[in-house]
Symmetry: D2
Subunit: 345 residues, 4 copies
C-alpha cells in the first residue's frame, strides 16, 4: 500500500524491455547515436511540430536547464509559491541560472491566476535595474495539489507572460496524467495554448530516469547543448535514456499507464467519500489525492503498512491530519481496496 | 571494430541482470532505499575503511561535485593540462565551483610530476588574494594518455598537495583498469597513497551510468547531500544507480571486465609491433593505446568499418596520423584480430 | 526640496576634507596602507570588541558579501519581504551566494517578528535536502518603512536565528539614524543583541561611497579577503574609502549628521500633522516618513520642485497617493518649511 | 622613491578639484544625474563614435563585467598567460562569467601573437560541447610586461578573434600610457583596429577609483545595466565617479599625466643603461621597466627606501634579481635621479 509518491515505483516492463534490447552492441557516445536521433524525431510527431528536444535524467535537471536557457542577469522567474521548482529542488533553479530569483505567487488549489501573476510581475517593472527584470514564468501541469490547468487557463497565463516578453515554461513532471485527464493532444496542452518550453516527465509514469526538455521554438535552444553538457547531464551512453523513451512511447504505453494511475486515484477517492471522518479537500483530477483524515485512521493505516506523506496544515482539527496519496502505474486495485479497508477500520 | 571509446559499449549482463531484478516493486525515493544503503556499505568493505559515498550519474558530475566540495572563493584547482576536467567537460568544474580556476600543468605521458606541481602551486602563494589560493589538486588514474601512476608517484603528489593544505582528488573514470594493471588494492591506490576524494567510475567498465564520489575522510562530505541535490544529481528512483553497482561489484565482475579490457589492449599492441609504418609511442598500461599510423593504414581501417579517434600532433610525419584506440569489456579477440588484419593490409 | 532619498545628497565637509588630506603622496595599494589599518582599529573601539572589518564601496556589495560568507549549497536566507536585499538589489545577493534563495517573510511596519520568522524557517527543516537549509537571517535597521527594531526585538530574532545555527545579519544602511534614535551604543545595537555580522553604512549619512562589513566573530571572516577581491571590491587606492571613514567618524561627525537627519524628519512630521488631507501612517523613528497625501497636494509639491517617491498601495483612496520622504545631513529646516508651505497650499 | 605600482599614488589635483566641486548639492542617484550623462557624451567625442559607456570603480570590475557581457555556458576566454585577468584578479572573471574558462596563451614580451592565438582557439573547435566554445579574446594595452601592441598587431589579433565570431576585449588599465606612446587617437587604438569592448582605466593615471566599460557596438551592451547592478557596481552617488572623469578628461589632463609617467620611465631607463650590473630586458614603451639588477644593488635601494616588486625568474644569475619599476603622474625627476644615485652606489 505505497501511496507516498509515484517515484517510489520501479519501471514498466515496456521500459525495461527496451533497455534490455539495447544492452549489448556499440553506439556512438554522447547522444548522437541513431536511437537518440530517432527519439528526437518521435517528439516532433508527438507534438505535431518541429521541436528541439534534449534528454536529461532528472526533473530538477529538466526544470533548471529549461529556465537557465532564458535566465538573465537580474532575472526573476515567477511561479506558484508551492511550485516544485520553488520549494522542492534545493534551489537548483537559482544555482543553474546563476542567481535568478524565483518569485512565488499565491494561488488557490495550487494554481496561478492571471491577475495574481500580472500583479507580481508589475512589481518588477521594465527599465529599473534595482528590481531586476522578468526572465520567465513557470507553471506545473499537474500542479503540486493534484489539480490541472484547463487549456484556456494556460492560454490566459501565457498571455500575461508574453505581455512582458518572457517565455512560459511548463513543469510536466506529471504531463501524461494531465493529458489523459484533459483528453487533449500534447500540442493542445502546450504550444497551442502558449507554452514555450516544457519539462516532459517520464520518470514518475514508468521510466527509470528519463526526462526531456522540449523547446517549441527550436531557435530558443541555441547553445543548449553546452548548457546541458556543463550541467553534467550529457550521458556518454545516452541511448540508455533514449531507450527508456522508446519503451515509454511505444504503443502509447505512457498514456495507458497514466490512465491507470488516474483511475486508481479516482477509485481511492470514490472509496473514501462515504467513510466517516474523511474529508476530501479537492476532487482528484489526476493521480494525487489530498484528504484530511482522523489521526487514528492515519495511525491505523500506517500500522498496516501504508506509506503516504503528512503535512502541516492550518485547516485541520486537533484530531485530524492532512495527507497526500499518489497513485501510479504500479498501483493495483487490490492495494487501493486494502487501503480503504484499513481506513474504514 | 569499435575502438573509439569504452563508453561506446552497452552494459555488462551482470549490470543488466541486477537492473532487471529491481524493476518491479516499490522503494523509498531519493536514495534512502535499502539497496542504496547496502551499496554504500559495500564501498566501506571495498576500501577497508569507513568512507562517505555518493552515487551520481556521470563522470563529469562526480568530478565537478568532488571538486565543488573543496572549492573556495578565489580557489585554484591544479591538474594535468590534458586532464579530462580541464579540456573535456565543457568547463563544468568551473561552473559547479562557482568559478574556481583550473590550472593545467604540463607533464610527460599525461602525468603530473611533483616538481611541476609544486612550481605551479608556488605561483599561487599564501596570503595574496590577487592570485587566489589553492583549493585542490586532481590527478587522473588512468591518465588521458593511458598511463598509470605508481603508488609512490601518487604519494609524492599527495605530499606536495598536502603541504599546501588542500586535498588530492583522483579522477577514476578508469579506476578498475588501473587497479588490475597495478595489481594493488583499492585502499592502496587511494587513501593509503594520500588520495582524499575519488571519482569512482563504473560507466566505462560496464555500467549504464553509474559513478560514485568517495570521500576517505567522511567528515569532508558534510553538506554534500545538498550539493548533489542542487546539482540535479539526486535520482528519485536512486536504486536504479545502486542496482548497477550491485551487478558491477558482484563476484568481482568489475575486475574481470577491466582485466579483459586491458588484455585486449595488450593484444592490440603486441599485434602492432611488427607492422611496418606503425609506431607505438607508449607501452599500454591499461586499456588505451596511442599509436602513430601511416595515413593510408588509417584510411584502410576506416574503410573496413573501424572506429577510432584521430588527433592533431606535432610529432607525426606528413604521411602519418596519431590515433587513440580504446578497448573495453565488450571488445573481443576477434575484433582485435580483424583490426590487425586490416592494418597489415 | 529633495526628499527622494538620502543618497541624492553629496558628501559632508568632514568627509571631503579627509579625502583632500589624502590626495597626494604614495600609499601601499590594496588596503594594507596605514590609514586603512588605523580605520580598522577604530572599528574595534567603536564596537568595544575586536571585530573583523572590511571596507567596500556600495551597500549592495556589503550585504551580498556579508551573506556570501555564510552561504551554502541549498542555503536559504530569511528576511522581510520588503527588505532591500530582497527587492532592490537586482538579485545581487542571489548571485554572490551562487544561488542561495532569499525567502521574504511578511511583517507589519517593515519588521520581522520572531513567530513569522520561526514559522518560515520551519518550512526549511533540517536534514531534508529537497527544501534546502537555512544559511542566514537578515534584518534591516532602519527598516524599509523607516521603523526601528528595539534591542529586545533584535535579541528575540537572534534567538530564533541561532536556534537554527545560522547567523543574524543586520543591513545597517541607515545604522547611524537608528543608533541615535534608540540612543544606545553600537555594541548594544549589534553583538550585544545577538547580531553576528553588520553592513555598516556610511554613504547615506555623508560619505561618497563607503560601507563596511563588520564581523563580530572575527573567525567567521576567514577567507573574506578572497571573497571581496573576487567580487571586484578591493580598491587599489583603498585609502580613498578609508579616508571617508576617517572624516565620517572624526569628532562623532556621523552621529551629528544622523541626529540632524532624524530631526529634520520629525520637523516634517510635526508640520504635517495638522494639514488637512495628510495621513501619517507611521510615526517617524529615524529619517524616513511615509505619509498619504491628496493627489492634488502631491502634484502641487512636484510643481514646486519637490522630489520624492510615490508607491502603489492598496490602502489609499482614489484621490490619494502614498509617498516616501527621506531627510539627510544636507536637508535644511528651510527646505522642510518650504515643503510644508507648498503642501498646505 | 616609490616605483612599486602606479596605483600607490593618490589623485591628481584636476581629479580632486572636480570631486570637490561636486561635494555639495543634490543629484539623482544611481547614475542618471546630469553629470554622469555628460560624461557619457564626452566618451562619444573621445572615440569619434557613439559608444555605450558604463562607469565602474575597479579595473577588475571593468574587465569582469566586460567579459561577462559575452560569456556563454561553456565559454572560453583567451588571453596572454600573464594577463591581469588570468593571474591577478582572484579569478573574478571566472566568477562573474559563471565559470567561463580563461585560457592563457604563451607569447614573448607579454604579447599574444595571431598564430599562438589561432592555435589555442583551434583546440576549442566549433560544435563540440565537450571542449566548450570561444566566448572572447582579451588583450592588455599596455601589456603586463610594459610593452605595447602596434595598431596592425591589434588588427591581426582582431582578425583571428572575429574569424571565430567572438569579440576582442582590450584591458586598458594603462590605456593612456599606451595611447601617448603610440601617438594615435583613441579611435585608432580601439574600434578602428578591431577592438569591440574596452576597459578604459582612469585609476592608475590619476583618478581615485574610476574605470569605464566602453562598448563600440552599443547594441552589445543590452542588459548591461542589470549586469552592473547585480555586480554591486552601481553607485548611489554615481556622480562621484563621473566627477573623477570630468577632472581626468578636462584640458587633456589624462594625456599630460600619461606622457609625464612615460617620460619618467624613459629617464629611469636611460639612467640605468650605463650602470654596471644592470640589464634592461626590454626597452620601455610606456611607464613600466623590467630590469635585472645585482642583488646587492637591490638591497641598497631598499635600504634607501625605494619600493618596487621583485619576481622569480629563470633567466637571472645567482647574484641577480628581476624587478619591476612603475612610474606615474606623481613620480618626479628628483625621485628618479635619487633612485639612480642609490643604484650606482
Amino acid at each position: 500500500m505505497i501511496f507516498a509518491s509515484d517515484n517510489w515505483a520501479g519501471a514498466t516492463s515496456a521500459v525495461m524491455t527496451a533497455l534490455a534490447n539495447h544492452t549489448s552492441g556499440f553506439a556512438t557516445a554522447y547522444g548522437v547515436d541513431p536511437l537518440s536521433r530517432s527519439i528526437e524525431r518521435q517528439f516532433n510527431d508527438l507534438f505535431e511540430k518541429e521541436v528541439a528536444v534534449f534528454l536529461v535524467s532528472t526533473g530538477t535537471a529538466a526544470n533548471s536547464l529549461a529556465l537557465a536557457t532564458y535566465a538573465k542577469p537580474g532575472g526573476a522567474i515567477f511561479c506558484h509559491e508551492e511550485a516544485h521548482i520553488n520549494v522542492d529542488e534545493c534551489h537548483a533553479p537559482e544555482f543553474f541560472t546563476a542567481g535568478n530569483k524565483l518569485i512565488g505567487v499565491a494561488g488557490e488549489n495550487g494554481k496561478l491566476t492571471p491577475d495574481a501573476l500580472r500583479s507580481a510581475m508589475n512589481k518588477v517593472p521594465d527599465n529599473n535595474p534595482m528590481h531586476g527584470r522578468p526572465a520567465a514564468v513557470s507553471i506545473s501541469q499537474v500542479t503540486e495539489l493534484g489539480t490541472i490547468y484547463q487549456l484556456d487557463e494556460i492560454q490566459a497565463l501565457a498571455d500575461v507572460t508574453h505581455s512582458r516578453n518572457v517565455p512560459l515554461h511548463m513543469d510536466g513532471a506529471r504531463f501524461a496524467n494531465a493529458l489523459v485527464s484533459l483528453d487533449v493532444s500534447p500540442a493542445e496542452m502546450t504550444w497551442k495554448s502558449g507554452v514555450d518550453v516544457l519539462s516532459f516527465g517520464g520518470t514518475k509514469n514508468g521510466c527509470w530516469c528519463a526526462e526531456a526538455v522540449v523547446f517549441f521554438k527550436p531557435e530558443d535552444s541555441d547553445g543548449f547543448e553546452y548548457l546541458r553538457k556543463r550541467a553534467a547531464q550529457v550521458f556518454s551512453k545516452a541511448r540508455f535514456i533514449s531507450a527508456q523513451f522508446e519503451g515509454y512511447l511505444k504503443d502509447d504505453s505512457w498514456l495507458v499507464t497514466a490512465r491507470h494511475a488516474n483511475e486508481m486515484c479516482t477509485r481511492l477517492a470514490n472509496g473514501m467519500r462515504d467513510i466517516d471522518g474523511v474529508r476530501l479537500l479537492l476532487e482528484p483530477e489526476a493521480n494525487e489525492l489530498f484528504p484530511v483524515l482522523k489521526k487514528e485512521q492515519a495511525e491505523r493505516l500506517k500500522a498496516a503498512g501504508a506509506e503516504f506523506y503528512e503535512s502541516a496544515a492550518d485547516f485541520t482539527a486537533e484530531d485530524e491530519v492532512f495527507i497526500r496519496l499518489v497513485t501510479c502505474f504500479a498501483t493495483t486495485p487490490e492495494q487501493v481496496d486494502e487501503f480503504l479497508r484499513h481506513l474504514r477500520g
